[in-house]
């Protein structure tokens, strides 16, 4: 069963989340999880590392529902992969791009607006697809 109700409301809800200031949120992350991941979710550092270990050692990765760029930035930074972070809210993509720049991977990690049901890529474009709590 897949239940996606009130699609536009959900996107609007996500956009509000991405537009709000996050300095206190960042401090919360650092205290609770030992690092500011730029996330609002449940994928902690060691889980992001497990994700990296699961993808081929090199190649192109599509990070579905990239949000603020976590854990995509870890995959691009620590794995050296070329990565596209895909999400729907434009504000999320702005934050993801900033995260990629801050992580020093802006030359190989990019953002793209789109949704999983209509991906703007040719067949066979990616060696791996990653996701964290988006394919639910």
């Amino acid at each position: 069963m897949v239940r996606i109700e009130h699609h536009k409301e959900l996107i609007d809800r996500q956009t509000v989340k991405y537009e709000r200031p996050i300095s206190a949120w960042t401090a919360l992350e650092e205290a609770a999880f030992g690092a500011a991941m730029g996330s609002n979710g449940f994928t902690i550092q060691e889980e992001a590392e497990a994700l990296l270990a699961a993808v081929p050692a090199s190649g192109r990765v599509l990070d579905l529902g990239t949000g603020r760029g976590w854990p995509g930035k870890l995959i691009a930074r620590d794995g050296g992969h070329r990565l596209v972070g895909l999400d729907m809210p434009v504000e999320a993509l702005r934050l993801a791009r900033s995260a990629f720049e801050a992580a020093g991977v802006a030359d190989r990690a990019f953002v793209c607006a789109g949704e999983g049901s209509a991906l703007p890529f040719a067949s066979g474009s990616f060696d791996a697809v990653t996701h964290a709590d988006v394919l639910c």
Partner: protein
Amino acid sequence: MLRQGGVLAGYVIHTPSGLSEADLESAGDLGPSFVAGMDDPAASAALSGFDVLHVQDVTARFRETGLAWVEGLGEREALLRAELGDAEYEYELHRKGCIIEGIESGLLRRSFCVFRGR
């Protein structure tokens, strides 16, 4: 978009197998906003043309992370209310609490799944 033999890897929040319709409805209410129930990620992947390389139940860690969020929200309530506003703060606290309730009542699980495209 995935090449033949490529890897699909990620974390999936889902329901356990065998829930009643009422429990599935509750799981949908308690889970993250985009969540739904998918009681067996491996079976769904197989139906979609993937081979299962690895499936690991990470629900215990999911619960720990949720509890850490709620604890952190409580410890920094004043700062977060000032920064986010009361409505956003309450929303976050409510949503994280719902997820923990869903986990502890056995309605929500989280799995780390690695599949390979055929």
